[in-house]
Symmetry: C2
Subunit: 257 residues, 2 copies
DNA sequence: TAGTGGTCTAGACCACCTC
DNA sequence: AGGTGGTCTAGACCACTAC
């Protein structure tokens, strides 16, 4: 006989009921004291079970309100089209994508000079701690924190293209501005990873326990030189990345009925 | 004054010490009762703090042994080279990659006929519940569970290429076998997402709390037909995916000193 | 004010590992 | 045997939300 601990039985029973649709996304679970009666367990034991489901990302809780089944709506980002080398888009790809999806984008933006961390220095091929220009975006969709994006430029490039280090927006887009300055991005290297958020990331993206982040690092090259390194941190529950490679049939919105 | 709850103070203090290197990766934390004395908190409160760090993926615990700082070694998978259309590799790309990294790959393998789930049916463009061939791999590196890979083929293709549904390995590789049968993959569509593992996935990949999974879905096309859908589930703490797009300078191992 | 979850305690017993 | 974490309880008080 393989007896499970009681808190796990609670978690399993509730998970099954959520999967079955007994508690649809957005609905509320019974209160801790009700569950405590139902499972003949102390409140603390029930809490352990609920906690497990929170860590799985299945439910969330808020003080005074109760436990709610999480709803998952995903936003797709086409990374191979995002910055297409042959068909560059006009303006900001993020705003366009979000607006096209019928949502309202907003962002805060800042520029600063900052010493390169090991991770960034490695990719930009500059010395650890050497100066870089950081252009940082904190992005929202319908006022929900969605992602952060930090782009680092090496010092030598900022000297060649001084507007990079100026606080304002670059209206025509940085890629286009750099191209006009004779720096044309010929290719990029993408790295994708996942992990649980740091406390800082939890704060910026407003995620609780049970939601991982999706980390996307794009290193851009012009000839043999690295011209930038962009680190995007997504809420894992709200985002998905796509790549199209080779020849594909047309998929003109037929996937979104 | 912004007083934090005690269990969070415990978590923050320990996280800081881990970040500082006071407890390097692989080392053990003091026992719960020692921490209980140090922080003047009950054992349960200390446990809450430790639990938070477990959920962040920073530490892990095992009965009778204590808490250990997790070490992170990542395995990189180059998804744009993985199945290069112009320079196909010989044999199994996974085994080659792992062996090249000086590690020992192993896997279990099975083939079955199974009705298409909504997710798979959507991608294969077949009816929900219609028959598909599933070729499933459970992969290990040095006997550590690493990833699972499930490839679904539509029924019509299995009729055209009958060895797909046979239980054994396909020595020359399925891509090559299909090409010989006149089915040449011309392109693919990749989707990448992350979430916390389901209980099934936790079991197969042997991950505890605080480790998300990285989900990679590759849908392969030949002309306008979908010929397969491969769903790979990685342990998020051990894997990273890469894409090379456009022209890049040679990076012949110079990144791995 | 009543009900919800959030924090904390003190103590008990069990399961696992090392010696 | 002695130390570690894992489970569970009963009860207390606090903070937030709703009405």
């Amino acid at each position: 006989m393989n007896k499970q601990p009681k808190y796990r039985q609670v978690a399993d029973a509730l998970r099954r009921e959520i999967d079955n649709g007994a508690y649809p996304p957005g609905s509320r679970l019974p209160s801790e004291s009700e569950l405590s009666t139902r499972f003949e367990a102390s409140r603390n034991t029930v809490r352990s079970g609920l906690n497990a489901l929170v860590s799985e990302g299945l439910i969330s809780s808020s003080q005074g309100l109760g436990y709610e089944v999480r709803k998952h709506e995903v936003f797709e980002l086409n990374a191979s089209r995002f910055e297409n080398l042959t068909f560059p888009q006009n303006g900001d790809a993020y705003s366009t994508d979000v607006t096209n999806a019928g949502r309202r984008p907003s962002q805060t933006f800042r520029v600063e000079m900052t010493p390169a961390t090991a991770y960034v220095a490695d990719r930009l091929k500059v010395a650890l701690g050497s100066t870089t220009v950081l252009r940082f975006c904190h992005r929202f969709v319908d006022d929900v924190p969605w992602s952060t994006q930090a782009t680092y430029y090496p010092d030598w490039l900022a000297k060649q293209a001084p507007r990079l280090a100026e606080p304002g927006d670059i209206a025509e887009g940085t890629t286009r501005y750099l191209a006009a300055a004779g720096i044309e991005q010929a290719g990029y290297f993408d790295e994708i990873a996942t992990r649980m958020p740091t406390p800082d990331e939890s704060r910026l993206l407003d995620v609780g326990a049970g939601v991982p982040v999706l980390l996307w690092t794009r290193t851009g090259y012009a000839d043999d030189r690295v011209i930038r390194c962009t680190i995007t941190t997504f809420r894992g529950d709200l985002n998905r990345m796509n790549y199209e490679i080779g020849t594909l049939p047309d998929r003109n919105g037929d996937e979104r009925p």
